[in-house]
């Protein structure tokens, strides 16, 4: 079970309370996680990654296990503690004011 924490705007947008939990078959990567998240919550399509390029939106960051995973390759494996559900995968809005 993968745990995902979304920024409050996206939780509200998708009517999510608290953490999201995902079941992912096979290799757990950033791409697999976001695919599963968007499949479970279609309203999140385009909010985290661009729908055409599939690139992470520039004002979002991915953190887990006290590490910044924002610039990891989308198909790189996520940390074991995320895969085992011990640590959440954090999707965080960058500090950009406004």
């Amino acid at each position: 079970m993968i745990r995902v924490v979304l920024p409050s705007h996206l939780r509200k947008h998708a009517a999510i309370n608290g953490e999201v939990t995902l079941e992912i078959d096979g290799r757990v990567t950033q791409r697999a996680l976001l695919d599963a998240l968007e499949q479970n919550y279609p309203v999140l399509r385009g909010t985290i990654r661009d729908q055409q390029t599939q690139r992470r939106r520039p004002f979002l960051r991915f953190f887990a296990c006290q590490r910044d995973l924002s610039h990891e390759a989308p198909d790189a494996p996520l940390p074991d503690d995320v895969v085992r559900g011990l640590q959440p995968f954090l999707i965080v809005g960058a500090i950009a004011g406004g």
Partner: protein
């Protein structure tokens, strides 16, 4: 009982202001979509309970929301705005080619007759259409395919398609405007387009009389006379009597002809309204006095309207989509400011009151007149 519903888009959410026909006492609901930029929301003329909203965010991108109950509840619909084919390049601020990239929806224009048909004007400039109530969007790419796209350039707010006027007498005729490309018209429902900028003169482009490149801020028409168009350009207030084939200036005695909004009285096709702004670098009213100017002659002769508006220390702006008129017998005029005020006049501009004063910066104002 007649009532009005004013739809206000702001930098941090949408607000809905409602009143009975007297327009003296107002209920305010919101913020809807708190924290998101609401560039525009607009109701369907064919079904006033159907409202579309453009919801966007620098963090989370573009969403389109739809209400079927007059704004009480909302559902997110499709937010995929994919350009048709390889979009190519337009000019960047420095004149170099820059790839076309979708950024946001600036303006939503529901069909006059079909609640499920709706148009969206986007940045980077393009026109999209949905025929299924926003469940899917397709670009009307004949506009970008006109061939002048590589010469379009962004204005200060981005390269946005911000105005969509549907001709009530000819369903195949649509007018649009882009900053900074100019005005365009289709006569075949969006398949092919032609620039309609003859008569515009803009000193900030190499050829001031060029076919494209003009920073048109807003177009307006009266539904009874769609061949007559009014334009607030970057500088200059313009008029066309031939559906945009040619334009002539009607700035007349305006104290400054820079501005963003322009609109037409609901019952008097030659009564038009603008809010003069000091200059392109000083986006606020002259002398700190917020004044709407009205012409009852279709331009050239203008009178200031200030009764009820702040006449000292006022340095707000009124953005291009932030003025609207209702269709009650005594025509109501509404506009919103970057200071968060929404002003209304129930007597065609003679007197004004602030409906609300402290919203986030107002991006757009629309009004629905409800039976």
């Amino acid at each position: 009982m007649t009532s009005v519903r004013v739809l206000v888009g702001t930098r941090k959410g949408a607000f809905i202001l409602t009143s009975d026909g007297s327009r003296k006492s107002w209920d305010v609901s919101g913020p809807h979509f708190a924290g998101w930029e609401i560039y525009h929301l607009k109701g369907s003329p064919a079904d006033p309970d159907r409202i579309y909203a453009s919801q966007s965010s620098g963090w989370f991108g573009q969403q389109i929301q739809r209400s079927n109950d007059g704004g009480k509840s909302w559902e997110a619909v499709d937010n995929t705005f994919a350009y048709d084919g390889v979009p190519g390049t337009h000019q960047w601020y420095d004149g170099t080619p820059h790839p076309w990239e979708f950024k946001r929806v600036w303006h939503i224009e529901p069909s006059l007759s079909d609640p499920d048909m709706v148009y969206a004007g986007v940045e980077d400039a393009a026109l999209f259409q949905s025929k299924d109530g926003g469940k899917s969007w397709a670009e009307l790419s004949g506009l970008r395919g006109h061939g002048s796209g590589p010469r379009w350039q962004p204005g200060a707010g981005g390269m946005c398609l911000h105005t969509i006027l549907l001709d009530p007498k000819d369903p195949k005729r649509i007018f649009i405007a882009i900053s900074a490309a100019g005005a365009f018209r289709t006569d075949d429902g969006g398949e092919t387009w032609r620039p309609i900028n003859q008569g515009l003169r803009s000193e900030y482009i190499p050829d001031p009389n060029a076919e494209v490149g003009h920073c048109v801020h807003r177009l307006a028409m009266h539904r009874s006379r769609p061949e007559v168009l009014f334009m607030q350009k970057h500088w200059d207030v313009m008029r066309s009597n031939d559906a945009g084939n040619s334009w002539h200036e009607v700035s007349g005695n305006l104290p400054t002809d820079f501005g963003f909004v322009i609109d037409v009285h609901a019952h008097e096709p030659d009564t038009i309204y603008v809010v003069p702004i000091k200059s392109d670098s000083e986006h606020f009213p002259l002398d700190g006095q917020l004044r709407v100017w009205r012409s009852r002659t279709g331009g050239n002769d203008w009178e200031p309207l200030s009764n009820g508006l702040p006449q000292s220390n006022c340095y707000v702006n009124v953005l291009r989509d932030a003025m609207a008129v209702d269709t009650l017998d005594s025509c109501g005029i509404y506009f919103g400011t970057t200071g968060g005020q929404v002003y209304g006049s129930a007597d065609a501009g003679d007197t004004w009151d602030a409906i609300v004063r402290d919203l986030p910066p107002v991006l757009s104002v629309e009004v629905q007149t409800l039976a």
